[in-house]
Structures are given as C-alpha cells and as structure tokens.
C-alpha cells in the first residue's frame, strides 16, 4: 500500500514538470537568463556557471500549427513540434536556444530556427561526428570553447574556472542521484513506479539542478525507508523490462507498461541513462574535463563509432536480469532506425523477446498499445 506521503512525494517530480514555465519566470525575475537546448550533447555545466537556467526542449504532443509551412512532415516530431513551439511563441520566455549538430535534422533545424524564430542567443554547437581520436577531440573542444565564448559575449561577463568547477559538482551530484535512483529501481522492484522514474529524469531536464537534486535526495531517503517496511506486493511478480530508443516524453507509455505488469528496470534513452550516466572529472581543468565528459559519454547513435552504445545496451540486459526489451522508435529518427534491426537481432540472440513500438512523441491509440504490451508481457511470462 502506498502511504499518503508516498503519493505526495510521487507527484513532486511531476509538479516540477508542470511548474517548468513558472520556475523559468521566477529565474528571470531574479535576474537570470533562461536558454533552451536540444539533445544531450550541450554542456549545460557552462550555462549553469554563467547563471543561466538551461531548459531541454522536448517538443510537444499536440498538433502542429505552423511548422508544416516550414518543414516537411517526414521529419521527426521532436524537430517539427519544437519548431512549431518556437513559431507560435510558446518558447518566447527563452532568452535563447542552443542547437547541436547531432543529426541532419537538428543541423537544419538550426537554420530554420535562425531564419524564422527571432530569439536572442541562438547558437549552433557545431560538433564533430567522430568522438574518438585527436582530430575529433580537438574539434569538439573547439566547439565547447566557442560556446563558452559566445555565451560570455551574450551575457557580458566572463565565466570563471571556479564557477565552472562549482557547476560541475552541481551537475555531477544530480547525475549521481539519478543513477542512485536508477540502481534502486533495478534492485528493489516496485520501490519506484515506472512513471515516477521517468518523471524524475524529465524534470531534471528543465528544473534548476540544486532544487531537483534536493528532491531526488529526499525521495531516495523516503523510499529506502518505506521499502524496508513493505511486504512484497501480492500477485504475479512484475516483468523486468528494458526500454530502448531516443525520447520518451509521454508518461502514458510507462503507465501502460506498469498496468500490464511490466517494470522498467533499465533504459538507453536520451531521456534516461544517456543523459546522466557519465560524470565530469573534478580533478582536472574544468573546461577540458567538460569536453572529455561529452566526448566520452554514452554515445547517441548520431556519433561514430557505435559499438559502445550496443555494448551498453547488452550489458544492461545482462546485469539487470532483463526479461524483455521494448524499442520505442521515433518515426523518421534515422540514426535509431538504422541501428534497430541489428540491435534487435543481438538482443534476440540472447534469448530475450523484443517488442517494437512506433512513436511520435505523444501516444496515440492507447488501447491498441495496451493490447500489444499486454500480449508481449504474456509472451515474456510464458517464456
């Protein structure tokens, strides 16, 4: 049984998501700047060190009002809906936007944004494709230095090494807490719901980090205490699942999985481990350490080589005693769609069943999806 306090706690990450705009306004009222960004290759630590609240832009689940006049419909929903948000003024509260060259669509989004969404600080983080070797590293470092310089010009102040070191610690702490929560949900089944674990990450992407870390700490403490007293939940044990893909922003996916008896114990998502798996080293030159972290982080399929990503997924499956994998594939997301058949084959060769869900950010066809997930979980149970 969940206690009232648990329910209250559970809603708190969601509340941060709901209050995102309000928090940004408060930040601005206090004299700070708020800058949006895409993907998880933008070194937010630099923004934080400049006193900027960084907001990850995650698109919307609604219909597209104006973007279809600027971009074809065979582009992913993240790009289309985010551009739409920019065009209709939903992002007017942002003082700027940073767009990294990750995939082709993102790179061209920068051009479309510059041309159509008038906004203060619009910056292209011109990242290399290859993250191994000196040439790629130097190029990456150059892009990070350029970002810092442009931001300093925009803010009219320099960002000190000391400020960077503090921000690195703040971000590392948040990542460490997210990993702790991840490990807890793996190890202590049912301690945290699917939705809450997703919302914990989603809220981290848009909230002031200190505030978010504080909530994470309290949640982990509370849950550890209450789980110790709880009896095992009655009924069939939950089926342990891994979710693979790019973005999951609609918590109903996780709700349906849970309703059907599935527990998401691990993931490789941009809104999951790919965001918080790696830390910035605290014992070296801060900007260099930041560069290295983003170069060496768990790679997105936009980066080459991709073996490390495959390895991470397969390792997750081994460590977590995962019983099934759900691929949530965003339509028109080429990098993931090219990787999918092989990754699927590798997973299946481990004897783990796979379900593929085609997504366009927001969930449509709830009941149909429920039926598919239900059938999948039955297969996993039966196997």
């Amino acid at each position: 049984m969940e206690s009232e306090e648990d329910i209250k706690m559970e809603g708190q990450f969601r509340e941060l998501i709901v209050r995102q705009r309000e928090m940004a306004d408060e930040w601005k009222s206090a004299g700070g700047k708020v800058v949006g960004h895409f993907c998880n290759y933008v070194p937010e630590e630099i923004l934080h060190a400049g006193g900027v609240l960084s907001i990850r832009i995650l698109g919307s689940h609604g219909h597209i009002a104006r973007a279809d006049a600027h971009v074809q419909t065979y582009v992913c929903k993240l790009i289309r809906s985010s551009l739409d948000m920019g065009l209709v003024g939903e992002l007017d509260y942002l003082d700027g936007v940073i767009i990294p060259y990750t995939c082709d669509g993102m790179r061209l989004l920068f051009d479309l944004w510059t041309k159509n969404v008038k906004q203060g600080f619009v910056h292209l983080l011109d990242l290399p494709l290859i993250v191994k070797g000196d040439i790629g590293r130097n190029r990456f470092e150059g892009a990070v230095i350029q970002l810092k310089k442009s931001l300093e010009d925009y803010l009219g102040k320099s960002i000190s090494e000391e400020a960077l070191s503090i921000s690195i610690r703040v971000y590392n702490e948040n990542r460490a807490l997210l990993r702790e929560l991840y490990n807890l949900r793996r190890n202590v089944g049912g301690m945290i719901s699917n939705i809450e674990s997703l919302e914990a990450v989603l809220s981290s992407l848009t909230s002031p980090k200190e505030l978010h870390s504080d909530l994470l700490r309290r949640t982990i403490l509370e849950r550890s205490k209450s789980t110790a007293h709880d009896e095992a939940a009655p009924g069939a044990p939950m089926v342990r699942l891994h979710v693979s893909g790019s973005l999951v922003t609609d918590s109903r996916y996780y709700q349906i999985i849970e309703d059907c008896g599935g527990l998401v114990v691990s993931d490789d998502l941009c809104t999951g481990t790919r965001y918080y798996w790696d830390d910035v080293k605290e014992d070296t030159h801060p900007l260099k350490a930041i560069t290295n972290r983003y170069l060496d982080k768990l790679p997105c399929p936009c980066k080459s080589p991709s073996e490390e990503r495959y390895q991470f997924v397969l390792d997750s499956l081994r460590q977590d005693d995962v019983q099934g994998v759900i691929f949530v594939l965003e339509r028109y997301c080429d990098p993931h769609l090219y990787d999918y058949p092989f990754l699927r084959k590798k997973v299946e060769s481990m004897g783990i069943p796979v379900l593929q869900i085609d997504a366009e950010l927001g969930l449509s066809g709830v009941e149909q999806l429920r039926t598919r997930i239900q059938a999948f979980i039955e297969i996993v149970r039966g196997g």
Binding site: A69, Y74, D111, L112, N116, P335, F342
Partner: protein, 416 residues
Amino acid sequence: MDKIKPRQSKRALETSYEAAQILRAYWSDIHSAKEMGKPIAWASGVVPTELLYAFDILPAYPENYGAVCASKDLALPLCQMAMSKGFSTDLCSYALINFGDIFWEGPGKPEMPFGGLPAPPDLLITTRIPCLVQIKWWEVIRERYNCPMIVLDAPMTDGQATKEQIDYVADQLKQVIVQLQDFTHSRFNEARFLKALTLSDQAGACWHEITDLRGAVPCPVGSREMCGNVFPLVAQLGTQIPVDFYRKLRAELERKVAAKTGAIPVERFRLMFDNIPLWYNLELLSYVEQFGAIFVFETYLRYVWGGRINMSDPYRGYAEKLMSDVWLNMSLEQRIKTLIRDVRKYKIDGVVFHSNRSCKRFSLGQYELKEALEQELGIPSLIIEADHSNPGGYSESQTKLRIDAFLELLEERRRC
C-alpha cells in the same frame, strides 16, 4: 497548353552515347579487378575518390547502384526485402535497395544489373558531407561484411569554408592516407595523388563550363540526358576518363551554342530542378519539353558532383572542394543565396522542387527556398512530393497534372 511536335527520342548530343559505354566498361573493370583480387571499396557519394585511385583501390557506389536499380524498376522488391529484415520504410530508399540486395534471402531475387555490386567489399569508406545517413548505412554494411571502415567528417558550410573547417577536413584526409597505407600495405605515392587531383580538377572545371554552356539560350541539352552523363563524375574523379569525356561533351556543346541549336525546337520556358531526380521516372524531366519548356539547371548535377581544387595548396584545396561545393553541405542561408544567384544567371522562369522523402538533408529548407524565390525575384516554383528511388506511393499522372498546371501558370504570367 499547346503541344509542340515531340522531338525524336534520339539524344541532343552525340557524345552522350559514350556515357553508356563508359558505364559498361566501369562495371566490367570492377568485376575483373575483384576476380583478380584487387581491393574494392564500397564508397559513399562525395568521398575522396581521388585518394582511392591513388592507392589503386577501385570504388563501387551502392548509392549510384541504387539509382541504377530504381531506373530498371527493381526498387520495390529490394526495398520490401529490406523492410522484412526490420528496416523502416522511412529510411533512404538507396539504402533500402542496398539492404534488400545484401540481406536477400530465399528465391525470387531480381537479376541485378551489371552483375551486381562486387561483394564482399574489402574496404568501406563513407562521409557525413552528403548526410549522416551515409554513416548509419555504412555501419550496417560493416555489420554485414565485417570489413574495415574509414569515415570522413565535415561541418556544413556557409559558402566559403572557414580556415578551421578546412583544417579539420584536411587533417582527416591526412589520417585517411595513413589508414589507406595500412590497408593496402603500400606507401602513399604523393605524385600519383597530385596527378589524380589535377585530373579531378580538370574534370570539375570542364563540368562547370558544361553547366554554363547549358545556360545559353536556347539550351543545348536538357536534364534527362545530363542525368545520364554524370556517372564519370560520381565514380571516376581522379582518372583520365571524366576529363576526356567531358572535354568532348564541352566541345560539342560549344558548337551547339555557337550555332544556337537548342535541345527543343522552340524554347519558351527555362526550368530548374532541385533535389535528386526520380530515377524510376526520368521521363518526367523531358515531359515538359513537348510544351516548350526545358530543365536547364539542376542543383543535384551542379552542386554534388565535381568541383575546383586549389592546386597551389592541394591538401587544403581538396578539403575545401569536398565540403564547400556540395548543396547538401551548404547551410540554408547559403542555399538561398546560391539559388537566387543561379536563377538569375541561368535565366530561369520557374523552379521545380522535388520534396524527396528519402533525402531530408536535400529537402529540408525547400519551403524557405520557395518563399525566397517568390519574394526576392518573383519567380514561381512548384513542389512535387516523391522519392528518388522508391516509386511506392508516387503518382506519375498526378505529378504530371501539377506540372501542366505549373506550366499554365508560367504561360499566364508571361501574358500579363
């Protein structure tokens, strides 16, 4: 709209007939080379082909081969096979054709043109200059054949590449040379490489002159025929073949232009085509000619293949050529500037944009280009929805109706 007596199906230029011979010879050579144990690289478009030739590695082009398969109506079964292997229908149809080929299982495989791509490849070489998709596609090929892969990265440019951008690509080219030495166990022969670059530059220069000669009024040769003439530039830069072929083509064009001989009897409208052509329906490009319209310029032919190389600084000049003169690697702002310039230069009356669901990198931004044309030059344009290789979902009759209406519009504007 009145039809003008259709021209005979023969080509406008005698030299164009040689393109087919060059293509056949290329395929025959590459299969013989494979049999003799010479290394074959499967190469993306816009890779440093000249370097491969300098190392005696013959490049085969799965992308170009996809276009060949599409032109022979083989795309559908191959794409379907790829989809049955888990590849999304939304991926680039060039890639799907290739996946259908290399993962084909069971009976019923179509007879592949030119004896098929020489498989397995000994080496893979790819680049992000046209698109990230190339890298992802090549990673799949690598999974299939487990062979070494070389990757060249480049940033998109605002027209002229910056010093840092050129350095970045030039540094990688030097690394590619080391990788090729390791692969071939042979020393890099710089003189041979510089010779290849010189030949490439000569072919590129000639190609630019050909493009300009097509700017003459009346235009001496239309798009459809020129699409068949681009292959040596795609696959053979760095060899003598494109230099000889394009010099001959240029000479013939010069004679046509001097004599004011147009490709069509009466040239009333000059059109531009943007994006990769519909390889399964190239006839669309010549369809307009019966109405006195002709495609005289194509972004795909001018800004993807060939280019000048600053030979006084060959490595950096080569890097600059690879990343700067390619439409796909231009920022939107640069595409707009280039389009406006070329519409004026080639006296274009209207532009047909192929919104190509298989090529996001080419297609994104077309709505902005359309608007810029209208606003800055008052030039009308038409967007047709299709795919460069997969004919599924494409309606030829609907597209022709839209082109008819567009030509009517041009007619009306001329009357006003």
